[in-house]
Amino acid sequence: MTVALVGTGVAEAVSKSIPGSILASDEKTVVVSADKLYPAAEFLKTSEFAFDYLANLTSADYLDYFEVVYHLVSLKKNHSLVLKTRIYGREAPAVASVVPLWRGAELQEREVFDLMGISFEGHPNLKRILLWDGFPGHPLRRDYL
């Protein structure tokens, strides 16, 4: 059975290594600030947490901010964590790409870019994936329809 790590405990370890990166944490999740996402993700992958598998990457639109959600799993230790980041502002939301850490993010980040309109800086091939170039807007945003 995969053990879901307690978010507050992980958040403590992350903030020790990368000061000022934690926005919030609770039982299940750790929320890091958007500018510290990459170092925090790198820490979670390389430290004793050993999150070697990015199970799922998605996003949600809460109108005040966008949330990008990373479901991390460690196949070695069989534990999991929900990592999140928040991006404020609706004009040109952007966050660092995690493709250098987990290749599995490649197509999923393209999907978030396409349907939610969040850019991933450092993505090797960031373009629309399901919709065609020139499609107006990003359908999964709550203010689209």
């Binding site: 998605t58 479901h71 599995g104 490649e106 197509l107 399901l130």
Partner: protein, 370 residues
């Protein structure tokens, strides 16, 4: 005399979206040097129906038929993954009998899906349609059983939040028992025809090798991941439903080539039969659906539920705002994420191998494009 040098120019071919070997409407933009693949760019979206957006305007129960249309070769497991996520979110208990029924139909769905995966793979190896028809023969029997359960052969809409839609009719039980008894013999038949065939071995051994490290790093899942030697199956490693009550093995490959993927699927079908047999012995009498209000209204919050679907980890990410429709509905598409490494697998191989390697990943476009 000076030796003449033959030079080739790279040229681009669009494989698909209407190419018969692309399993739907998948398009690959392939650059060739002669017959050798230099670059592959997968292109998606030809079957995009906006299911994630549609779901935001429907009640939790109305979404179940939408999930049928994701991976349309394994609709039962799509139903299951979704209702399990909703049950987790709403805290709904599921009756024992319903859990057993879900395991039985889920494992039959896995057999049916793997039958088509191996059948089409052999088809693409050049054994034109005859072996595939052998596998369709058994798939038909499974579809007939599902027809008895819910009156549908492809889009079942069988699972409900808190159970299943119908209790099986009396004629279902002898038919499913007979199927499970006969199925291992049919698998032996396929193996006798295919597994030791010299042409199959020559075309699949050491072709399209995926390394363990890359498979994990690229979030591969299902038989595609296990063929590389990674022993990871959500049924055992993140046990859901009642899978902890059954004895079964998880077949694992060694090389991560096309042959290992084929073997993993064949052996997995045998394990499915084992699980169904045990479930048939243990299934209790009782309710098949929990008594719930007509409209499910989960408390505000979010959940990520995942199951081991035939093609890999199928996940549902739901955000609820305590209304009758989800605030956000996301499907983790197993086969699309498996395609991340398509380029790494195929570069340097010939056109005919490209088709085989792509076939061995076993994609369904309904799930990729959603």
């Amino acid at each position: 005399m000076e030796a003449t040098e033959t030079r080739t120019e790279p040229f681009v071919i669009n494989l698909g979206p209407h190419h018969p070997s692309t399993h739907g409407v998948f398009r690959m933009r392939v650059t060739f040097d002669g017959e050798v693949v230099v670059d592959v760019e997968p292109m998606f979206g030809y079957l995009h129906r906006g299911i994630e957006k549609l779901a935001e305007g429907r009640t939790y129960t109305q979404i179940i038929p939408l999930t049928d249309r994701l991976d349309y070769l394994a609709s039962m497991t799509n139903n299951w993954g979704y209702v399990m996520a909703v049950e987790k979110l709403a805290g709904v208990p599921v009756p024992e009998r319903a859990e057993y029924l879900r395991v039985i139909v889920g494992e039959m769905m896995r057999i049916s899906s793997h039958l088509l995966a191996t059948g089409f793979l052999i088809n693409e190896l050049g054994a034109f349609f005859t072996p595939l028809m052998y596998m369709y023969r058994e798939r038909e029997k499974i579809l007939d059983l599902f027809d008895m359960l819910c009156g549908q052969r492809l889009t079942y809409n069988y699972m409900r939040v808190g159970g299943v839609s119908h209790d099986p009719p009396p004629e279902f039980w002898p038919a499913v028992k007979r199927f499970v008894r006969e199925m291992p013999g049919y698998i032996d038949e396929y193996e006798g025809l295919v597994t030791t065939n010299e042409i199959v071995l020559a075309r699949t051994k050491d072709v399209g090798v995926l390394s363990k490290e890359l498979a994990i790093n690229a979030s591969a899942s299902g038989p595609f991941l296990r063929a590389t030697g990674v022993d990871w199956d959500l049924r055992r490693d993140d046990t859901y439903s009642i899978y902890d009550r059954f004895k079964f093995d998880i077949p694992v490959g060694t090389n991560g080539d096309v042959f290992d993927r084929y073997m993993c699927r064949i052996q997995e079908m045998r394990q499915c039969c084992r699980i169904i047999e045990q479930a048939l012995q243990q299934i209790p009498r009782g309710e098949f659906r929990a008594r719930l209000p007509h409209l499910v209204r989960p408390p505000a919050g979010e959940v990520y539920g995942h199951i081991e679907a035939p093609r890999g980890e199928l996940g549902f990410y739901l955000v609820s705002d305590n209304s009758i429709a989800p605030y956000r509905f996301h499907v983790r598409p197993s086969t699309m994420i498996n395609l991340t490494t398509l380029r790494d697998l195929t570069i340097g191989w010939k056109l005919a191998d490209l088709i085989v390697i792509f076939g061995s990943i076993d994609v369904v476009l309904g799930e990729i494009d959603r």
